[in-house]
Symmetry: C2
Subunit: 344 residues, 2 copies
């Protein structure tokens, strides 16, 4: 038998920090736990988050919630990544219209395609729901689910955000990545519940956020099963909306896909209001939070008057109900992982 000194070190990700744990011996040297949320300033929201997580994970405590019930839901656009100057999925759709235009010469003279080809977002908006549905059909349907995912993956590799000149999936918020990791290290299961297209988000959610496809809830179009020429089954995306996971659709989507009420919900717009209400209406301790975009210098500043990510009624309700409002400028030490060099 060895006479080696019996200190066995095991790295354990506890509270988001690597901690040295002495196994099977009196704990003689526990390193001070590092801050699991280093990109957050020590302001009220960070305190509220830490207090909440500590209270629901304190074994035997009054507010203890078993791990299986620690469901956390996050909106995506404007909550986990940026959404200006337009939803990134719309940027993808416009780029797809451009890529497909050579096979559709008539698009140069036909709305809403003409607007997309000319980056005329005003004309595109004027085309209304009918126009958006046509763009959606041309760019998201008529292909297999796998071909669509490949197209999104390729776009994420090649497209650049107009302001920051970064791939779109680099515009994820570093403080939120820390929060997701902190929650998971404390036994939470993290979900996306977003108005965005579920098959669009699933392409990058696992890599960008550590959220696997089966924990992404979003809007969808129908798919149908078809057998191809070689006898292989294929799922084909159809130009028909199946589910809109926005506003009152969010509690419905949570019920349908997750099947239990979250104890933490994080959004940034009026489209998240019902999700926060639904989460807050449960019996157990709950945390409802909104990200308020207040930082035109590092990101953007917008709320009540914005066409994208409008935050108006939900902000009122947050004040009435005591929801946590994260002020990006005040509460976040950093916004992105990269150092912004874009024109401001």
């Amino acid at each position: 038998m060895s006479s080696r000194i019996p200190i066995i070190h095991r790295r354990a990700l506890l509270s988001g920090a690597a901690v040295l744990v002495a196994v099977g011996l009196p704990r003689i040297a526990i390193a001070e736990q590092a801050d699991p949320l280093p990109s957050w300033n020590d302001t009220a929201p960070k305190q509220a988050i830490r207090t909440f997580v500590e209270s629901v994970t304190r074994d035997g405590g009054h507010d203890f919630v078993p791990p299986a019930q620690r469901i956390a839901v996050f909106d995506n656009d404007g909550t986990l990544w940026g959404e200006q100057p337009m939803y990134f999925q719309l940027a993808f759709a416009i780029d797809r219209i451009k890529a497909l235009a050579a096979s559709h010469p008539e698009w140069k003279e036909t709305q809403p395609y003409k607007a997309a080809l000319e980056d005329d977002t005003k004309a595109l908006a004027a085309s209304g729901n009918k126009g958006i549905m046509e763009i959606l059909a041309a760019t998201h349907a008529g292909v297999t689910t796998e071909a669509f995912a490949d197209t999104v993956a390729e776009w994420l590799q090649t497209a650049r955000h107009p302001r920051f000149q970064q791939p779109y999936d680099k515009l994820v918020y570093r403080p939120q990545l820390e929060l997701l990791a902190y929650l998971r290290a404390n036994g939470f299961k993290t979900f996306i519940v977003s108005g965005g297209g579920v098959e669009f988000m699933r392409v990058f959610a696992e890599r960008a956020y550590g959220i696997p496809p089966e924990q992404v809830v979003g809007s969808s179009i129908f798919t149908t099963l078809q057998i191809d020429a070689e006898g292989k089954p294929q799922l084909i995306k159809q130009p028909k909306i199946e589910f809109v996971d926005d506003g009152p659709g969010k509690p419905v989507g949570i019920n349908r896909f997750i099947g239990r009420r979250p104890i933490l919900a994080f959004g940034n717009s009026d489209g998240d209001q019902q999700m926060l209400e639904w989460t807050s209406a449960g019996d157990a301790p709950r945390l409802a939070a909104l990200l308020h975009h207040t930082d035109a210098e590092r990101e953007w500043a917008y709320d009540r008057a914005s066409h994208v990510g409008k935050l108006d009624k939900a902000l009122e309700e947050a004040r009435l109900r005591g929801w946590t409002v994260v002020d990006m400028k005040r509460d976040w030490k950093r916004v992105f992982a990269f150092e912004p060099k874009g024109a401001l």
Copy 2:
């Protein structure tokens, strides 16, 4: 510092068996691994399952599949629990009709309610889709999602299966519980993908199978968000079918809810055929399995001619494609956890 001999034992659930692992030292005493599938006879299906699991988990091996992609899907009725003499959810619906009949005196003279009240399954079947929809509306809709779950939970506590005189959720198959645990111990994520109602199954799936609500995919009716008299949001179940998770609906449901192709699929009827085809059509190593009910003594024997769980075309395809067919009589040492005492 202690001079204790540095053997640190840690219990680890590996392959379903508690194994002593010497941490940080040469492994000097690994106990022989217990059989993770003790209710399975040592026939071909058990060998196929073990070979498959070992091959996809062998780090560096040719067939290795990363844990995140180890998705296993199981049908429920007839695959994880019984389905005779009628789908258990239909037994629930009939019991609900009886429980609600006092408030609906007209049901005594009106089909399909009369058939349900008189246990006349022939007349019930004759009422067709329209009749089934009426029963569904009367027993599954018009209530909050939470009230419905409470009703199912109460029914599971009080109702008894007519043959075995056991609560319905005791009619789960012990070999399958072992298989689910074995898969999870090997990094698989286990899902139900069933034609049954998702909100019905979620009530017992976690307790009975260790499968949490967010990993249950099933058929559904619509829900809508309403604000009650106290200002609280409620989800109300509506008498309108949203999704039928059966046949070609299973690959569609897998794509919608899970978002990636399983590597293992287990069913028992023609309603599972497309799920097995979809699973088998992937690139990675796959296991597709069917449970063949061949045991009239311990359970039931039925296949091509059965109205419940008809197994005909899928059985042919299993033979053509080399899918694993589990013959209950031959391959299972035990069927249930309880010792059957029911009339045979």
